[in-house]
């Protein structure tokens, strides 16, 4: 790579960093004050893009950008006052769930308003050309973007450190109740901060339209970019976000410049994993103080009811006698996801570790089963038996890093690992079949009927759930819970909390692998979606719907969610939005899970 090429890639990186910073700064600001990780932040960015594209048709580019940003801020205002305000006191994970429901709703709203095709925006009038830099052409507009990031950073910095409003925002970020007791109207403050964050996201989106087209997939892509930036920089730290945006922007640009463009999907997550291992709270972050609020006492976990499980098994065993093939396939899916959710529950419930990337182990199980069958030509039964071990191994490798962290940081690291696993599956064409995945992953002849496979799934899944329940009740399970209830006390009575958590990761991965392998053979094919972020979120939704404080909750949650998705996706055009709406209603009506 020549010197001028390096310079150009460097400038490219700076331009990318500016957009990243705008989104990440808003996300960080909102998190700092409300302690809500806003999954929908990428959706606000997407909304900004679409609005700017539409408005620029009549108003022209330069007017459309600020107007689109203002409209997104207004949308943020509505979201905060109608939804978030109701759930500030709900558990952290339910808040995440609610914002994820917003992602689904906003995406379908965009689909309805702008259609499925990508929408290309106009060039910026006056800055449509290119300038020669070191003998190469560089877009003029990108030079403007390069300046935009630092300008917004300085403005935000001054706002937060030099104004009375900023002082109050910082005070409320630390202790909102105390701020209120000193006369600060925290509600209005929260609304304003959320609107400001939305404004920045909308602005980021709108100002990006000369560079890339608006598309429906951009929401999750931008969301995960912004997450990475915020986590690498340190949650709640604006200077940290700025630094991290530069780092990630440059790393990405040079990956493309050096011809490793496939690597860009995973590289930011690799950077994040490395940073978090060495600086567990990000570059400029500090350990999160417990947010002030009602106590974080953990309610007791009820004893496992094996009677219930046995009854369920008997009931499910007689279903095929009168049910049609369609029901049997649906029940097979439900059983698989019930096990998937139950394995995630081990981490989230007794383990107290919110995993946002549990699909990685599900997918590892599925892919290993498929590869052993198709590439190593092992018998199906042996493939099914070995696949969970690969998933467990993967979980142990990822888990070793994850258990060094806790809370939101742990969640983000699990997400990062899942994203890495996904991009490997997506890009390693020769082995995994790339985006097409693997086909022809069928069970052995004696299991080829839907009924036979259903019984296999029934036995394996309910058996595995029984083992998981037994484990939660065992000394190991108690020691794990002890580490969650009070890490300080646990260490003070000789419990190596990390070792306990690490083992839990391996076990959860093993059972998720069982579910994944069963899933692969039931469908006959595997696609990278098996280990994608939405699949991980599905698992979270199931566990949280059922209630993380119960043992059987994840099973009911999985059943409800799988059934809902199945029936909505057949009958309703905008079924994602419908699922989102259902989740929102449930979260607001049952802030502690439905089956409580």
């Amino acid at each position: 790579m020549s010197g001028s090429a390096v310079l150009l890639q460097f400038l490219n990186g700076l331009a990318g960093a500016s957009s990243l910073f705008l989104v990440a700064a808003g996300l960080s600001l909102i998190f700092g004050v409300s302690r809500i990780v806003n999954f929908a932040h990428g959706s606000l960015y997407m909304l900004g893009m679409y609005l700017a594209v539409s408005l620029s048709g009549t108003l022209g580019f330069w007017l459309s950008v600020p107007l689109a940003a203002a409209l997104v801020a207004a949308a943020g205002l509505v979201i905060e006052t109608t939804l978030l305000r109701r759930i500030y006191k709900a558990p952290e994970l339910l808040q995440l769930l609610a914002t994820f429901a917003l992602v689904l709703i906003i995406r379908d709203a965009a689909l309805w308003a702008w259609g499925p095709e990508d929408r290309l925006g106009p060039r910026a009038p006056g800055l449509a050309g290119a300038v020669a830099i070191a003998g190469r052409q560089f877009p003029q507009y990108d030079l403007l973007l390069i300046c935009l990031g630092p300008a917004v950073f300085i403005a935000l910095y001054l706002l937060l450190s030099r104004t009375r409003w900023g002082t109050r925002v910082r005070a409320a970020s630390q202790d909102r109740e105390m701020a209120a007791a000193l006369g600060v109207n925290e509600r209005r403050l929260f609304t304003a901060v959320f609107a400001l964050g939305a404004l920045l996201a909308g602005f980021g989106g709108a100002s990006a339209i000369p560079r890339e087209p608006a598309s429906l997939q951009i929401d999750l892509a931008v969301m995960s970019d912004a997450f990475v930036v915020v986590v690498v920089g340190g949650l709640g730290s604006i200077p940290g976000a700025f630094l991290a945006a530069l780092l990630i922007g440059e790393v990405k640009a040079f990956c493309i410049g050096l011809g490793y463009s496939e690597l860009t999907l995973a590289i930011e997550f690799i950077v994040m994993a490395v940073v978090l291992v060495f600086r567990p709270w990000g570059l400029l972050g500090r350990p999160l103080a417990e947010t002030r609020g009602p106590g974080t006492l953990q309610p007791p976990l009820p004893a496992p009811s094996f009677l219930l499980l046995g009854g369920l098994a008997v009931l499910l065993a007689i279903v095929p006698v009168f049910a049609g093939p369609y029901t049997i396939v649906l029940l097979t899916d439900i059983l698989v996801f019930a096990l998937f959710a139950a394995s995630l529950h081990l981490l989230m419930g007794p383990g107290g570790m919110p995993s946002f990337g549990h699909a990685a182990y599900f997918g590892l199980g599925a892919y290993t089963a498929g590869l052993l069958l198709l590439r190593a030509h092992l018998p199906m039964e042996l493939s099914l038996a070995l696949a969970p071990l690969a998933a467990a191994l993967g979980a142990l490798v990822f888990g070793w890093f994850c258990v060094q962290l806790s809370g939101v940081y742990l969640a983000m690291l699990t997400l990062a690992f899942a994203q890495i696993a996904w991009s490997v599956a997506f890009q390693w064409d020769r082995l995994t079949g790339g985006s097409n995945g693997l086909i022809g992953v069928w069970p052995a002849p004696w299991l080829s009927s839907k009924q036979a496979y259903y019984y296999l799934t029934l036995v394996l899944c309910l058996g595995a759930v029984a083992l998981l329940w037994r484990l939660i009740d065992s000394p190991f399970g108690y020691a794990l819970r002890a580490g969650r209830d009070s890490p300080l006390r646990a260490a003070a009575i000789g419990i190596d909390v990390r070792a306990q958590q690490w083992a839990a990761f391996g076990i959860a991965g093993l059972f998720a692998g069982v579910a994944g392998a069963l899933y692969a053979f039931s469908k006959g094919s595997i696609s990278p979606e098996t280990l994608s972020v939405p699949r991980s979120v599905d698992g979270l939704v199931m566990v949280l719907l059922g209630g993380v404080q119960t043992l059987s909750g994840p099973l009911w949650g999985a059943a409800l969610f799988t059934w809902l998705e199945d029936s909505l996706s057949r009958g309703v055009e905008y079924w994602r939005a419908a699922i989102g709406a259902v989740i929102l209603v449930l979260v607001i009506a049952f802030p502690r899970g439905i089956f409580k």
Binding site: R164, T167, R168, R170, A171, S173, Q174, D175, E177, M178, A179, A180, A181, L182, G183, V184, N185, E186, R187, R292, P294
Partner: protein, 217 residues
Amino acid sequence: MLEARRLSAGYGAARVLFDVELAVGRGEVVALLGRNGAGKSTTLKALMGLIRPFSGEVHFDGRRVDAWEPYEVARAGLGYVPEDRRIFTDLTVAENLEVGRQPPREATPAWSPEKLFELFPALRTLQGRRAAHLSGGEQQMLCIARTLAGNPKAILLDEPSEGLAPILVEQVGKAILELKRAGVCVLLSEQNLSFARRVADRSYMLEQGRMRQAYAD
């Protein structure tokens, strides 16, 4: 000035206070005694609006405030100093005072920064320091000063002597008497009887969420 009538409150479904009655008059220093778990902190929080009472009334400065948001109660002139201080450790000393600042009120002592530093001389030289780097005693001073910056008519002090070295307890006691002289009325919760006796005009005794007795000192 401040009055609770048949006040009941608690957390979630758990009831902690049962029909508590108390009143603090202008210029008075009143102590709320009782052991841990008796409901002292809960009483102060309910008065401040930090928890919503189940039933009963809170009157402050001639107005009924039990349905108000905490910030509205604070703006009406009731200050609150929590048990565990809760200063904003990310902010400097001056910024902490800034968060608490409210416009002066009629017929109420106004606390300019100058007056605050007279009351707590140790804070004067620490204005630019991040509050996280203050000692425990300095944090306690800052916490009271921050509340005073709102020019309150009355303040609630939750266990001001708890966890402080004996020498600092003396200083806090002096500050409270200083407030009384300035005309701020004070309701403080205490377990330390000798401290309460030294600073308070009269006391209430809470036992398992019920008012047991009220006695003059």
